[in-house]
Symmetry: C2
Subunit: 741 residues, 2 copies
Amino acid sequence: MMRRTLLLLGLMLGLQGTAFLEVLAQPRHPRVFISAEEAAALRENAERYTLLRTTLARVRAEMEEVLAKPIEIPPPGEAGGYEHERHKQNYREMFKAGLLYQITGDERYARFVRDMLMGYAAMYPELGPHPRSERQIPGKLFHQLLNECVWLVHTIVAYDAIYNWLSEADRAHIEASVFRPMASWIMNEGAYEFNRIHNHGTWAVAAVGMTGYVIGEPDWVEKALYGSNKEGKSGFYAQLDQLFSPDGYYMEGPYYARYALWPFFFFAEAIERYEPERGIYAYRDSILKKALYATVQTAFPDGVLPPLNDASLTMDIRAPGVVLATDVVFARYEGDPALLGVAHEQGQVVLNGAGLAVAKAYDEASEVPRMTWPSVEFTDGADGRRGGIGFLRTGVGRDQTVVLMKYGVHGLGHGHFDKLHFMLYDNGRQVIRDYGFARFINVEPKYGGRYLPENESYAKQTIAHNTVVVDETSQNRADRDEAEAMSGQRHFFDGRGGPVQAMSARANGYWPGVNMQRTLLLVEDARLDYPVVVDLFRVTADTMHQYDYPLHFLGQPIWDNLGIRGYPDQLRPLGTDFGYQHIWEEARARTDSVVQFTWLDGSRYYTWTVAAAPATEVILGRIGAGDPRFNLRREPMILVRRRGRDHLFASVIEPHGYFNEAREISLRARPQVQAVRVIGHSEAASVVEVVGKGGWTWTIMVTNGPADPDARHTVTFGNRTFSWTGNYAVEGVVVASDSRR
Amino acid sequence: MMRRTLLLLGLMLGLQGTAFLEVLAQPRHPRVFISAEEAAALRENAERYTLLRTTLARVRAEMEEVLAKPIEIPPPGEAGGYEHERHKQNYREMFKAGLLYQITGDERYARFVRDMLMGYAAMYPELGPHPRSERQIPGKLFHQLLNECVWLVHTIVAYDAIYNWLSEADRAHIEASVFRPMASWIMNEGAYEFNRIHNHGTWAVAAVGMTGYVIGEPDWVEKALYGSNKEGKSGFYAQLDQLFSPDGYYMEGPYYARYALWPFFFFAEAIERYEPERGIYAYRDSILKKALYATVQTAFPDGVLPPLNDASLTMDIRAPGVVLATDVVFARYEGDPALLGVAHEQGQVVLNGAGLAVAKAYDEASEVPRMTWPSVEFTDGADGRRGGIGFLRTGVGRDQTVVLMKYGVHGLGHGHFDKLHFMLYDNGRQVIRDYGFARFINVEPKYGGRYLPENESYAKQTIAHNTVVVDETSQNRADRDEAEAMSGQRHFFDGRGGPVQAMSARANGYWPGVNMQRTLLLVEDARLDYPVVVDLFRVTADTMHQYDYPLHFLGQPIWDNLGIRGYPDQLRPLGTDFGYQHIWEEARARTDSVVQFTWLDGSRYYTWTVAAAPATEVILGRIGAGDPRFNLRREPMILVRRRGRDHLFASVIEPHGYFNEAREISLRARPQVQAVRVIGHSEAASVVEVVGKGGWTWTIMVTNGPADPDARHTVTFGNRTFSWTGNYAVEGVVVASDSRR
């Protein structure tokens, strides 16, 4: 803090520019990502440390294949097409080759980078804006400026790495033909992107700023840090201020976080290496460190990042931006051993001093911990007051059960209309799921690999998520601006472990006059096979509505207590808009009683038990209607439909038993939980009972009024009175004498 | 052969019974599965050999859990229910405990077996026939006799193992209360099963025969070997004669083979141990050895047995019957090192001398080969003249590509109407698939875990397979008796390796007046990413018919050249009977041109390119119509529909490119093959051209007349003349200078 204050003082006194020029005057190369000293240390330890050895072996093998083929620099092509992919591949290869030249001293790598750069220098000046940009700011090599920035970030590292090896004439030619015009294009024609508070903006400022450092243009660095007009309303610092909550949670969610971390840490490293006096890693109470933790700590036990907002179902912490951030945070902060568990899942390190530090610590650790995150909540919004995201966790390593709930901000253009959405990860898989984005990323025949139309018409809509839908419309009627102006609100979060953990949040006004509160509990009872999820979803409204409560699962329906029957000879869409037009209605049943539905997913059974309410409809659906191009996956869903004003959906999801088809074993295919009963709910509290086989009962009491862990509550429903202290209480859970895990 | 002749002579002279009694007079226990000497050797080497150590550790750990709980012997219950499973678990535990007692000398195991046997001795005499047998011969403990026989096979081994440890009084009580009445029940009330040429019959004779050896009832052994009336028309020898082809292929297919091998090898071991002079392992030119090879050599590279006829999709060579047979064949025959590759996949051994032999050889081998089977054909039918099954293979270990075609017998009650059906295994998965059985095995809420009604109405029908369907009816109109009377016929098989392998077979008269010939080629061309499948399916008929050519795949449609469009707002079943009532029609298009359809499965793209024909219809379907109980999986299919008399479906399945969603990489999503052209086809030959990108061409010539590898053929189609020698020829394939594999 002190150092930052001094720097700001220096800036105000007009000293900063001068000091800056002194730094840049030092003719040191390489510097922007790796130094000669680091390269020497990597060379020395190349065979010593497991993760470094593995990484180097892979990268060298890849480059051997590359060096065996001629360099190819095609004219620009369409998104996802061959030329597009070739230019992407080229920057990846230059980046690797540059670092390998530093580490090994083998001039073949340097020649490769030079020859490719000379090729680009021959082509680039002739290029105009890319003709197929489609509503985006174009690059010249690529249809969108973003790719051009990513190209430059990687390429400038490669250039820096061979800078001293290049002739002065070649350097001048390359800088004049490629780096200067490209940086100029990004800053000027691309000013909108450059000044955006968005990950595209971060790539832009990182590209320009890193290039400014390497080729000695301090003015570019200033613009990169403080925006085109250097006022600080945009640029890197503004992005650090506004794109993360105070907890480090990235507002677009983890899938984009893994991509945003990449330029944040590339540029941060460059700043630290050229201007350590800026104290970039201490900035905003170490926001860069928090950003890394708030990304990896959202990961499921297998390392996959939860698909919140537009996201693939498989993106994971092995993504290069996360590997870079993990290694840098380990090296630049306190060397947290928990990050070695992350490095273990990653199985690789970055090729600079930070990667070396991780590789060394990994091998020298007496025991590398398995990646096991605790229950954790991240606030959302730049001020941390716009809701958040909560994770309840129990178990160790890959066997963890995870329940997450999303109650933060909309999340910009990739946001989904999914407040109070939840997911359940259990037994190594996403059991209650998010559809992810509707996109076959980079698959050229599928709409050029871009987002598919069904991303808007289905994947973003509320019904595609596990949260209550009102009147077959989406939250905010799928109006993004309206959604951005609101946020969910946290009620309470208790992730201290123990047999019961709980979190509660609200989403008010996402439909006019409708307020919602969801309370999720993760309960471990010695009489049950596995931890179960209890869900109290309370809706209050000023008038009657239809409420649809959907669960998206995978696997096969096994049993239900309704005698539900699939339609034999005709399927129709469930609705006409807001995603309902994409769901085939497969079956419908009516009941006034408790609903029970069992399905089989992997080696485990799951039963959903929903408290009774009059005139309940249960609908089985399958995604795929209104999908002429077969863009959607044919996945199942179940929903419980009710009409009402104030209503509490109370339910339990119970994993149970074991199935192994190959071994032909099936155990406990029927649930233990027999019923859920709503005792009562009001503005003050909700009280629910869960009844198990043989009659055992849990009583669950949740405070609906203001959160206060010390407040004493007494409510009466019918002739029964309930008292508890704090935000919630659960009675009747049997704790195993020795914990199962 | 000589020894068998002598034995038969002895039998005719009435000597055999005497010699037999002498053998049985020896008071040796244990003997039926393990001897005291073997047990001592296992004890001595318990920690030495990997596979033995692993197996023992697992079995001991399992038994520790068992010993910690009270013994439970419930009254008989329904199929798949708790009691049913408990009795199954009991025999498994007694079997393990008996062997562990022998190996470790720990009396806790012996006590466990005794206490459980005494429990059964207390209950069994009170039991009548199981009340819920439903069209099957009942047991007393179980609803079907089969389970009772499996119980007895395992339990008699356990009894033999603790025989000497038991008091004479206990032995007398147990034999009188359990083994004698149970064996009597199987031989008498169960005579139909006991005398059946069927795997149920093998379990019955093994149970009775092994019990006869252990408790000294030579008459039972005689009946087990030669049938109730000892005439040899039924019993073990007749089963060995009739259930396997001369190549050892089991007529019900691999899924049931893995189950049938179990009693075959249990009983064979008993015979060899009590009466080695019978030379059971040499019987029928070593048919037991062939039976093991003809099972494991059908396995896909991951060890999964191909789902032919009623079968699960996951049953594999780790099944206990296959482990037993593998170890016994290794020990009793020539110790083939290739079987160590099988043992590697199994990761376990049986706990007797055979298992020890494998464990020892496994650790002592300088290198354990990966399980890599060559291309191979097995004839079908007891005489080997009723068609067969062919496997074309290329590649090593788990990376193999496998094409299989089924052209043998129907296969009894579990047979499917699927002659000329084929499957493709590629990139570690079943790419062109068989549905398997419609059954959630042992899942009690799903119809008691039994075969579901949809097994008859869908899974067995021709349309559920990858073979041409005529007039929307199944082969033999799904009449089993009619199907049993026929078989496919092999035409030729060339699995010698090299860039082109091929197999061809016929199915004539499965529809009245309709003959079929399918020729499958596996082609490796240096210009293509992976081996491709070429399929020439020729149908000839005496009148016009509708021909449907379906492929069952998984994954997502990516591209087609027809602009095919899914129905947006209504789905109807594709037909009304023979399985068609279970398929939702999702889309339909018409074309007179070449059909191309690309889908994505796992990390690879697949394109099906079908030669043009006028008025072709292409239909996309999805399983799940007419399925009120959600018993079927919602899997996709594509079919090409044509009308004609004589028609050749010529097509190519090309795997290509690479997709990795997590890494966001997509390469070569479009195919290289551009067209398939039928040049001509006649009774003499079929000639087809495959055309690739840039115009390269393969010319494929297949002989349709009698097979003769040396015959010279010349045919003229239009103005082109083609000449070749042998059953087929392919021109234009470019062979890689250094093979990819």
